[in-house]
Symmetry: C2
Subunit: 189 residues, 2 copies
DNA sequence: GACAAACATTGATATAGGTCAAAATCAGAT
DNA sequence: ATCTGATTTTGACCTATATCAATGTTTGTC
């Protein structure tokens, strides 16, 4: 798994072998069970995760108890309750392992320590923030300019693995529609 | 106006007088007319704006020609078509001055030049990205977990100036509801 | 390979919010 | 002050999607 994260990081920034060694030394393994919650409502999101195997989802729950998925991270992606990671306030986002999952994580404190000591880590964080921003804004745009069918078609073409790999319930939560509506959409398209 | 932006920057990061002077030298004034478009669909968002006076709005238009406002920037705020500014791809976001507006702008090239030459500008950008991310994610959350009435009540309590200062049409576009629905909500609350 | 539990589909009905159209109100230019 | 156009409100009706309930289909476990 450390090979995977090494590839990921080297792909985004230029680091010396020493720097990379230091960076990786702060990442610890974690293997949550299927459906285990890593962050629940009100906790501060103190860790950033790298997914080596399996899948993490980040989601909100509204007052009626409905959940809506903000982000799905499969293999070779980072994920965290980013708002809480930034603001250090309690998280409104939950994090859940959807499959048998293998993770590496770094704590917020260690992450910030790296920001101060390894200049290229600041570059990494810049890259990460930029990507996270773009992803979220595209998602925001899809919700305010597209209807359910369009969002489903976009998902099919842009992230077919989400539809293939996850149960309907999760796909529906990602599209923010009911399972029934998703089922009807599938039969029509 | 340069006083305002100076205050803003000094408030976020620590810079020497010299550095600040250099930074400000890259900001040029611009005074668009009411309703003037600064970025239209398909253009690359090459500039980042600081609002000294007036108001900018950033919005999308969907296939049926409906517009939905992503962000409103009043005095003493930065605004840009951030996705295009990051990716350098053509913008799906429009930028419009809603009032007689006084701006300062910096080009993307100059912005990146500052990132490379003034280390604290990297800190500024990090701060900016973090805030932009938090703002957008909260907005995403409001759309996927709240109904029209809740979004309106939240806006009233968190940004009453938006409701007071802008015409209904803009408020409705910001909430992503029709003007008629907004009018009915107002009469009920 | 049988059973329970989870998951997916289908049908009937409800509802938030949209659309269209008309009336009422407001605001800037003369 | 008065007109003209823009903005806001109100009413009638429509549509996408939710909800509830029943049925059908997988999937994992012993």
């Amino acid at each position: 798994m450390y090979d995977q994260i090494e590839d990921y990081i080297r792909n985004k920034i230029t680091v010396t072998d020493d720097e990379l060694k230091t960076i990786l030394s702060y990442f610890k393994p974690l293997t949550p069970k299927r459906n285990e919650l890593l962050v629940t409502h009100g906790q501060t999101s103190q860790r950033m995760f790298f997914v080596g195997k399996g899948c993490l989802r980040i989601f909100f729950i509204n007052e009626e108890g409905h959940d809506a998925t903000r982000y799905l991270a499969f293999e070779n992606n980072f994920a965290t309750g980013m708002v809480s990671f930034i603001t250090k306030e309690p998280s409104l986002e939950f994090i859940q392992a959807l499959e048998e999952t293998e993770l590496l994580y770094i704590t917020q404190d260690d992450f910030h320590y790296l920001l101060e000591t390894i200049p290229s880590w600041e570059k990494f964080y810049r890259y990460y923030l930029e990507m996270a921003y773009v992803t979220n804004t595209n998602r925001l745009m899809s919700f305010i300019t597209m209807d359910a069918k369009e969002r489903y078609k976009q998902l099919l073409s842009q992230k077919p693995d989400v539809v293939q790999r996850l149960p309907n319930k999760m796909v529906a939560s990602y599209l923010n529609i009911s399972q029934e509506t998703l089922s009807r959409l599938k039969s029509k398209i």
